[in-house]
C-alpha cells in the first residue's frame, strides 16, 4: 500500500471545491502547511476543516518561470487568513494586488491542475 501523505487531504479538498486546513482532534489548534503532529499538544490525531476562504495580502512578487519566459508572469502572494494561518497563493487579478488588500480564494485551474488562487475583493469576475 502506498503511504498516504499528510497533505493529500488538502488536495482532495481542492478537487472537491473546498479549502481545508488541519485541525488537531485533541486541542483544536489549526495548522498549515500540513504535518503529522500537532506542535501545540503533540497529538497525531487530526481532521480537515473548511476555511472561510477569505484573507488579506501581506506581500506579493512577480514570478517569471526561468524556462518559460514567454508566458505571462504570475503574481505570487502571501495571504493572512482570518483563522490565524498563512498561505502562499497567486493572484488572478494582479493589477489590484497590494499589501493589505482583502482577497477571496477561488479554486482555479493552472497548467491542468486545480490550485487555491485568490482574487482581490474589488477584482470582480
Amino acid at each position: 500500500m502506498q503511504a498516504r501523505r499528510d497533505q493529500d487531504f488538502f488536495w482532495e479538498g481542492i478537487d472537491r471545491g473546498e479549502l481545508l486546513a488541519q485541525q488537531c482532534d485533541e486541542c483544536g489548534q489549526l495548522r498549515h502547511p500540513p504535518q503529522p503532529m500537532c506542535a501545540a499538544c503533540g497529538s497525531n490525531k487530526w481532521h480537515g476543516v473548511r476555511l472561510s476562504g477569505e484573507g488579506t495580502i501581506l506581500a506579493n512578487i512577480e514570478s517569471v518561470h526561468p524556462t518559460r519566459r514567454d508566458e505571462e508572469p504570475r503574481c505570487v502572494c502571501l495571504v493572512e487568513l482570518p483563522e490565524g494561518l498563512r498561505m502562499v497563493s497567486s493572484v488572478l487579478d494582479p493589477e489590484n494586488a497590494e499589501n493589505g488588500v482583502p482577497v477571496k480564494f477561488e479554486i482555479t485551474e493552472y497548467d491542468g491542475q486545480l490550485l487555491p488562487m485568490v482574487r482581490t475583493a474589488g477584482g470582480g469576475q
Binding site: 497533505q7 488536495w11 481542492i14 498549515h32 502547511p33 506542535a39 501581506l58 506581500a59 506579493n60 512578487i61 512577480e62 514570478s63 517569471v64 518561470h65 526561468p66 524556462t67 508572469p73 504570475r74 503574481c75 505570487v76 502571501l78 498563512r86 498561505m87 502562499v88 497563493s89 497567486s90 499589501n99 493552472y110 497548467d111 491542468g112 491542475q113 490550485l115 487555491p116 488562487m117
Partner: protein, 379 residues
Amino acid sequence: MSAAGQTAITGLGQTAYTKESGRTVMSLCAEASMKAIEDAGLERGDIDGLISFTMDTNADHDLQSSLGLPMVRFTARAPFGGEGAYATFQLAAAAIESGQANNVLIFRAFNERSEARFGQPTYNAGSRRDFHKSLGLVTPGQVYAMWHKPFLDARGMTSEDLGRLVVQMRAWAANNPAAWFYGRPITLEDHQRSRWIVKPVLRLYDFCQETDGGVAFVVSRLDKARESGRPVVRVLGVQQAWPLGESMMYNYYKKNLVFPEDTVHVAKALWAQTGLSPAKIDVSTIYDNFSPSIPISYEGYGLCKPGEVRDAIRAGELGPGGSTPVNTNGGLIGEAYLHGLNNAAECVRQMRGTSPNQIEGAKIALCAGRQCGMVLARE
C-alpha cells in the same frame, strides 16, 4: 552556556572559483581538503574527523579514500547549508572539546554552476501539487524574495537601497583577485539598470554568483595550535539557533515576519559565550545568497539598532572605509557562492592579516548566518 571555545582554525584550502570546473565534485573537494591539511602544517594521519552539511554530496568515506586518511573516528553533518553553514564549526568544536577528535576537516565542494544549479526551476507542469512551487515560487530567488519583502517594506528600503548595498559589496570584490567580479566595481546606476529577476525585490545584481569550486578548513585543539608556532585563529564562539516557526527557505509561517528571531538568538548566545558585544567586532561576513539577506542579519546581530540598517547602508558603513566592514571578499554576491563557507574563509584571512582588503588591526571577526554564527579571534 558553554565557555569560550577551545578550538582554532589551523588550515584553510580552496580551489579556483569558476563557472565551469570541468572536473568531478570529489576532485574539487579533495583538492581543497589537501590544501587545508597542508596549510595547517599537518599530515594526513593527523586528521581524524570529517564534517560537512547535509546538502553536500561528497560522501565522507569517498573523501577519506581520495585523501588517504588512515583513520577517521568522528563524522557529522549540520542541517542544510547556506545560512546554517557555520554550524559545522560548532560540530567540530563539540567533537574536539569532548575529546572525540583532534583535527577535524570541514569541507564543501560542488559544481553548482555547471552541473546542479540551485537557481534552476524546481517545478514544471505536471509536477505533484505543493504549497509553494505550484503557486509560482519555483526558484530560490522567488522563495526568498517573498519573505524579504515584508522586512524591506517595514524598513522603508527600496531597490535603490539594495543597490547602494551591492555597490559596497562589489567595491570589496573589485579588489579581490579570487572574486568573480575582481576589477569590476559597479555604480548605483549600473545596479538599477540590471534587469529584474524577481520584481519588485531582486534585480540581477542582487543575486550571488553561482560557482563551481571547493573550500575546506582544518579545526584543531587550541592548545596544540598554540604549540605549533603557526598562525592561530581561535574559534572564540560558535552557536546555532532554530526557534520553532522559523524556516530557512519557506519562512512565511512565523509569528512576526519582520523580526529575525533565529539570528537574534544566535547573536545573544554568541555574546554570552564570548563576553563580547557587537561594538567589539572589527570585521564581519554576512551570508548573502541575495542582497536582502545582509540587512536582515546586520540588524539581527546588532551591528546597528533595529530599524537603522537603511541609514547604515546609505552612509556606506558596510563598504570600504565604513565603520562596520561587511564581506570584505565581496561576499557571495561579489566573490563566489561556495554556499557560505567562502565567507568563513574570508574571516580566517582577516584574522591572519592576509585578506586582499585587510582591515588594519582587526582582531575579532564575526562570521554570520541567520541560523548560526561564529566569532573568530586573532592571537
